[in-house]
Assembly symmetry: C2
Homo-oligomer: 234 residues x 2
DNA sequence: CAGTGGTCTAGACCACTGA
DNA sequence: CAGTGGTCTAGACCACTGA
């Protein structure tokens, strides 16, 4: 096992001090030059340790003032959103999809606004139900900006998920999403094969690439069959 | 406006190339030394740009081989979990809390297992309902490891939320959580003042500090009044 | 003014990979 | 072996803050 890198030792030292409360939130922490002296390393090394702590939200650095222990009232975590097909396969289960709608439509006012297009513009619309071991897991109602993916409707969605296809067409994404609990629409309940009053986990996601809206999707999951999990670490 | 820093220019250049598909996922990207030559900067500067792209999951670097465009099939995002009190105040609304339970109990087998304690150990239990402008927003059912917060029950929970208090006692957290849709229990429905069949967003969170479990909480929110939002960027 | 963090340079040594 | 990324050093100049 190789010795720990100096920047990692500095980082570890500071992290320990924060964890044991040696520096309370808001407290002034050692300056760069103090750490240089204390650890006998160059300033670049100290800087790297502190920049990583800053990126992790553990410290706040202010030019001219110093480095402060962060107020951890906002804890951020990494939530991984995966392609459903891949997620199901990784559990060792079978995935298949039923395509109920795959056509071009004139955008309603709401859809047009979300995709940044004039009302009435032709957009692609798909409605697909995804199954894990023959149990309905997700009803995916999606609109796509044709300018971003002109061949979208030529895809065989029983083989390739829209998410997978769109990631290939536009590899870099920005997105906003919301996660809420709600009731399925009558059609969604029928397609998912669940009672109309079953609570569902509903994710609404809007995706943008280089400022151009690509797609928006409403993903409805039976509450008893799906949940989002995550972890956060300091 | 100050000129953009050199490391930021290198990073921007690479990000653009990835966004426009110039480097497809898995493709070999320019080496450190090529970028040094191309941009006329020192290697530390190039390294910083690439390390940040690596931390963002956009590239993969392998010693001896090179830098590769990442496969973006997993997109990770930052989900911010905030202290509810702060969250409500930041919307300019009023927050108040009703404390229904605040006592010591003998841990059931399930609670003991989650907190890493023997069954029957004394633990702290609170049940608090949080209101935003007099509308119930969250029913918080929480168990706390007394070893981590011996004075927990002395807190006035109408003034200080358990989250806020525990963040002060143990500032650095690790946690696992799950988010799901479900029905409230009969008691939760009564406390929240909602129909028993209203879909709820349920967050279960277990928190650990330096390997020692601190607390576990079941947070139940009326689906019509609360949702989790987030964004991800490459 | 002295002290702070933000950033950069021009070198260096190392472990690693594949030819 | 030449080329790759991982990391470090010892300096430097700058913008910024508060005394």
């Amino acid at each position: 096992m190789p010795a720990k890198a100096p920047y990692a030792r500095v980082k570890e030292f500071l992290k320990q001090g924060l964890a044991c409360g040696h520096w309370q939130p808001g407290a002034l922490m050692p300056s760069d030059s103090e750490l240089v002296t204390q650890f006998g390393v160059s300033r670049m090394t100290v800087t790297r340790a502190l920049r990583e702590l800053q990126n992790e939200g553990l410290v706040t650095r202010v030019q001219g003032l110093g480095t402060y222990a962060a107020h951890l009232f906002r804890v951020s975590s990494t939530l991984t959103i995966r392609d459903l097909h891949e997620e199901i396969l990784s559990r060792g289960h079978r995935h298949h999809a039923e395509v109920h709608i795959a056509r071009q439509e004139d955008a309603t006012a709401a859809v047009a606004a979300q995709l940044g297009l004039p009302k009435g513009t032709a957009v692609f619309h798909t409605l697909i139900v995804h199954f894990e071991n023959n149990l309905a897991l997700q009803c995916e109602d999606r609109y796509v900006n044709p300018a971003c993916a002109p061949d979208y409707l030529a895809t065989d969605f029983t083989q390739i998920t829209p998410t997978h296809y769109l990631l290939q067409v536009a590899p870099l994404w920005e997105a906003q999403y919301s996660i809420e609990a709600g009731s399925p629409s009558a059609r969604e309940a029928r397609l998912l094969g669940i009672p109309a009053q079953e609570p569902c986990l509903i994710i609404v996601r809007r995706t943008v690439n280089r400022g151009i809206p690509i797609t928006m999707a409403r993903l409805v999951h039976p509450g008893s069959r799906y949940r989002v999990e995550g972890a956060f670490k300091p």
